[in-house]
Structure formats: C-alpha cells, structure tokens
Amino acid sequence: MIAALTSLTILGLVLGLILGVAARVFRVEGNKLVEEIMEILPGSQCGQCGFPGCAGAAQALAAGGAPVTLCPPGGRSVVLELAAKLGKEVNLAGVKDSVPKVAEVKEELCIGCTRCFKVCPTDAIMGAAQQIHSVFRDACTACGKCEEVCPTESVKLQPIPVTLHGWYWHKPNLQVLRNIPA
C-alpha cells in the first residue's frame, strides 16, 4: 500500500517535472498561427465578423472559436485559404459570394455629408462637403460601413455587373450524375 502510494506519487512528480521543463523549453512566443491568419485576412478592420478588427478575428480563428466563413469581404478565396490553413472542411454553399458586391452612390440622393468617406476603411470613397461622392470600385471591399451611416440611403451595396472581362464558364452540371452529391 505504502509502496504503491509513494511510487505513484514519485512517478507523477518526476513526469510532472519533465513536462514542466519541456513546457519552458518549447514555450510558444506569441502565436505564429495568428500571424499567418492575419496575412490571409483582408485587413480592412471592417468588423463585419463581429470581432474587433482582423486581429481579433485571427485570434478567434486560431483558437477555433470562429468559423472559417466569418469574413464577408474576403469571399470564397479567403474561406478556402483559411480552411486549408486550419485543416477545416467547408461547405461553400453557405458562403454568399455568388454575387460579389461594391458600394454605389445614387447621385440624386447624395447630399455630400462626407459621413461615408470618413468611415470607409480603404479610402474607396471620394468626396467633399456639399459635393456628390463617388466610389472607387477597385478599392471597395463591400464592407457595408458606408451603407450604415448614409442618412439618405444614397450609398448602397450593389452586385458588380458581370462583364466580358470577368465572365467565365459555369461548372458543368451533368444530368446523369444528378443523384450523386457533388
């Protein structure tokens, strides 16, 4: 009885000591994974994921507390990259990236209040007080912040029209294979 108690106690203590030393030696300084995830995220700090900025989202992702589909401006490509990095399976059906959007100013409604371009995280809106604002499509991430602050509902997210430049063939959908999950 005594032998059993002491031997197990000593064994536990020894192993605990080894692990304690190992924990020191192999301590992870910061989290490399968080930095790697930050690289993938758009970095516009739009906050649509519900976390305070991209750093918060990256931490949540690294800790496994957030789905890889959390980033609306990132779209499909970010989802796929995050899934590859974190080894998660994703169902892209849930990612509403089928219609990429950009903000658009309805000129007849714009009163030139400058609220939207003050909140734009990527400086994609140009304008001045009492001037009609307009959006640089190439810089807009469709974060929707401008839509929220616009007093006259002049700024709206609109689907990007398909052009010859961006068009590509749809995925073949074969009749015969219909009973087979894609």
Binding site: P42, G43, S44, Q45, G74, G75, R76, S77, V78, L80, L92, P100, P121, T122, D123, A124, D138, A139, C140, T141, V162, T163, L164, G166, W167, Y168, W169, H170, K171, P172, L174, Q175, V176, L177, A182
Partner: protein, 494 residues
C-alpha cells in the same frame, strides 16, 4: 524532309469538301458595321472618334493602349453612328465596347503611304507598320503580331515557321488563300523573315490540301522559303504542334515559342503583313468560311471586320433548315453563338450553321477510366484526372496536374466515349482560378489601402496631440512672460 513524331491528336472527319472548292468571293458591303474595340489579346483599343464623325476606309478609330494591344480601323468609309456597347462574339452573349459605322457605299480608302520596295525599310519600320495596321494572329490566337515581331528580334529567333495547318473541320479560308494568293503570302513571309532576321523559314501545310501545297511550292520557288507537307491531323494548327512536327523541339511548359528560337505566324497573318508593309493598309477585312449542313451555299468570303454573322448567312442563301447550332470558328474550338447578330472580328475564321446530325448531342455518362483522353491529349496531360478534381471542387489540384498547359483544343472531349464535357470543366476551372487571382490582387491592394489609412489616422492624431502640446507650451510661456513683465513693472514702480 524528316518530320518528327507528334504526341496525341485526333482525326475528326474533315468536312472541308463543303467549301474547299469554292473560290473566294467578296461580300457586298453591309449597311452597318460593328467594330469591337477588343479583338485581340491584351488591352482594348481606346476610341478616338465621336458619334457623327466621318471616317474613311482604313482610318484609325481606336488607338492601341499599353504594351500588348492593337489599334482598330474603319473597315469602310461612312460615319460613326454609335460608340458604345454591342453584343460580342462571345459564348456569354454579353456586350462589349463597339464602334458602329454606317457605310456610305463609296468604300473610299484613306490615302496610305505605299512603298515600292518594302525591303528597303528597316526591320523596325516594318514592325512599326505592322503595329499601326492593327495586325493580330489571324489563326485565332489574336495576339498582336508586332509585339511578337519585336519580341522575336530581341530573343534572336533563328527559325520562322508559317502555319498552314488548318486543322479545324469545315474551315477552308486559309486553304483558299494559299491556293489563290500564294505569291502575296510568300512576299509577306519574306518580309517577316527580314523583320526578325530568321535564318530558316518553313511553311508547314497539311497534306490534305494538295492544291494549296502545289500553289505555295510554286510561289516559293527560288526563295529562301521552304514549303513542307505535314500529316493532316487535329490539332496540327496549334503552333507548338507545328513546331514539334517541323523542328522536333518542344516549347517548355509556360514558356513561349521564342524561348526555343522559333517564331510562328499564320499564313493569313503573313498575307496581312504584306498588305500593311507594302501598301500601308491596315487590317480591315479577312477571309471567313461559311459552312455547315444548314447553309444552302457554303462559301469562302472576304468580309469587312464588323460585319454581322447573319449578313454572311444571308449572302450564302440562308438556311436549308433551322440550324441546331451556330458556331463562330471551327467545331472543335469555336464558340457557340446564341444569336447571329454579332460581328465578325479579326480572329474569326469561319461561321458554321450545323444540323442536328452534325452536332451529336449525347448525354454524358460517368467516366470509365479508359484513358482515351490521355492518349488524345497533344500536351500530354491527364484530362480525366483533372476533370475529376475539378468536379470535386478542387481546381488547384488540377493545376498541379498541368491545367495551365491545357490549350482547350478539345481532343479529349472529342474522343471521350462517355461524352464527358472535359474542356468545359477546364474552361470553368481556368475562369475560376483567374477570378480567384483577381480577388486576391484586389485584396492585397485594399489591405495596403487600409494600412495606409490607419497610419494616416494615427499620424493626424499624433500631430494633433503634438500641436495641442505646443500651443499649451506657447500659452504658458506667454503667460509666464506676462507675469514676469507685470512683476517687473511692479518692482519698477516700487
């Protein structure tokens, strides 16, 4: 001459007999011409005319912009009635920026600068004339020819290959051109050779065009141009296949033909080069084969760029029966047209109206892994595995299998006993990857913008704080000075 062994390839029924013996005819000038600004690989041309302007045939209406681009010219005299969007010859049926010209019926040429002996020009002048004429690869690739000439000279190209491999079924326009205008082609070939300084010049013509071979051999007699018969097979007209057949060399993956010292041009391009260099005339028309089971009178027509496809069919007597499918280009690589009201562009070699029996609409069935597609692929890829990965939603795996080297020639889809639309999968995956690439580029730039904005906001805040501190310090200094002065006054008065 010894020919080299080729990989893959198929032998579709040629069906060239429909139009092969019909001499080139000139299409009467239609009333309206719709000239798209992007008819080539690269940046679209920038329009330099306005609605209402009067233009002459050959006048510049869209200037080239950027390194890889080509100008477009008015295909006839008349006036501009619209500068805007018009349906493009594209499988999507979407619109593209297009200049619409109403022909005045005079078809009057702009005064152009002709040269009696083009060989006195310097190579630079020749490529400048080719660039100004807006010539692009007329075999279908539509890569700006002048860019290719300059690139070849820079890379010290030693071999010039002229591609007379018209391998698409039905299409006979290059065949007719070689039969009827061989001397002009040979002159164009010699001009290109002179412009790039190549030592060897070979014209490869498929052996199913004996008349064209004979005419070209005759025209090339006593010149440095060698005309060589190559076996008829599809895709013989693919430039890299032609190079392999004639030189035995293979262009490295994601490399250019210039990497192995070879420049390839199509026979029709050589013809256009001759026109441009000798007469200063831009590319405003091209030969188009009108064929297919539904067409009453198949023909080879010289057509102004911008003519609507329906005008061509009308001129050929209309349809025998309602066509099951209209195709722009050949049946293997051409594009299906939703409507015939789209313009002919520089790269259009044919318009086909096919009957039900010609298109063979069979439902696809599952892959049986027979590997027919592997044997047929001229690039040496694994179409079945690439398609399986794409179907499972993993396009990047298809890239590791060589998707980017696929030229979408259609051999795999053609031989597939299960009728799987393999090329459709590849086109989809290529488009998807390109889209991802675009999104990624955009994300990188917006990320930079966001960082710069954050920095700017931080800097403004910092400056505001600093300015406030400075103001505070200045105010305190002033107050102190005032106090001291007051104290001084007090002491003085005391």
């Amino acid at each position: 001459m010894k020919l080299f062994k080729l990989r893959g390839g198929v032998h579709p029924e040629s069906r060239k007999e429909l139009a092969a013996d019909r001499a080139i005819r000139v299409l009467p000038m239609p009333e309206y011409l719709y000239v798209p600004l992007l008819q080539h690989v690269g940046a679209p041309a920038q329009p330099n005319v306005n609605v209402g302007d009067k233009v002459l045939k050959g006048q510049l209406i869209g200037a080239s912009q950027g390194v890889i681009s080509a100008p477009v010219h008015a295909p006839t005299s008349g006036h501009i009635v619209a500068v805007g969007d018009y349906p493009a010859a594209h499988p999507s049926g979407l619109t593209a920026p297009t200049i619409t010209i109403k022909a005045d019926g005079e078809d009057r040429w702009l005064d152009t600068e002709a040269v009696s002996d083009p060989f006195v020009l310097s190579p630079d002048q020749i490529s400048a004339r080719v660039a100004a004429a807006g010539i692009v690869g007329l075999g279908g690739a539509t890569f700006p020819s002048a860019v290719k000439l300059n690139l070849s000279r820079k890379n010290n190209v030693h071999t010039l290959i002229i591609n007379g491999g018209e391998c698409e079924p039905y299409i006979t326009c290059d065949d007719r051109l070689m039969r009827e205008r061989a001397a002009e082609i040979v002159e164009g070939v010699r001009l290109i050779r002179y412009a790039v300084g190549a030592e060897v010049v070979m014209v490869g013509i498929e052996d199913n065009k004996p008349a064209a071979l004979a005419a070209m051999t005759l025209a090339a007699k006593n010149t440095e141009v060698k005309v060589i018969a190559v076996p008829a097979m599809y895709p013989m007209g693919w430039d890299k296949q032609m190079i392999k057949a004639l030189t035995g060399r293979e262009v490295p993956a994601d490399g250019r033909t210039a990497d192995i010292g070879v420049l390839v041009h199509n026979v029709a391009t050589a013809f256009a080069v001759r026109d441009a260099v000798r007469f200063g005339r831009p590319l405003v028309s091209r030969l188009v084969t009108v064929s297919g089971g539904s067409v009453i009178e198949p023909a080879n027509l010289e057509v102004p760029i911008g003519t609507l496809v329906e005008n061509l069919f009308q001129f050929c007597g209309g349809f025998r029966n309602k066509p099951a499918r209209m195709v722009l280009g050949g049946p293997m690589m051409g594009i299906q047209l939703a409507s015939a009201a789209v313009p002919i562009v520089k790269g259009s070699s044919g318009v086909l109206a096919l009957t039900d029996s010609e298109i063979g609409n069979v439902q696809p069935s599952p892959c049986i892994r027979c590997s027919s597609c592997v044997r047929a692929c001229p690039v040496g890829l694994l179409p079945l595995d690439m398609a399986a990965h794409i179907r499972a939603g993993d396009s990047s795996a298809a890239v590791t299998l060589g998707l980017k080297d696929c030229v979408a020639c259609g051999c795999c889809s053609f031989v597939c006993p299960s009728h799987i639309p393999l090329v459709h999968y590849f086109n989809f995956a290529k488009g998807e990857l390109m889209e991802q690439e675009r999104v990624k580029l955009k994300q990188e730039s917006t990320k930079k913008l966001a960082e710069m904005r954050n920095e700017r906001i931080a800097r403004i805040e910092r400056e505001r704080v600093e300015a406030a501190a400075k103001r505070k310090a200045a105010r305190e200094a002033r107050e102190r000075a005032a106090k001291e002065a007051a104290a001084k006054v007090v002491t003085e008065t005391a």
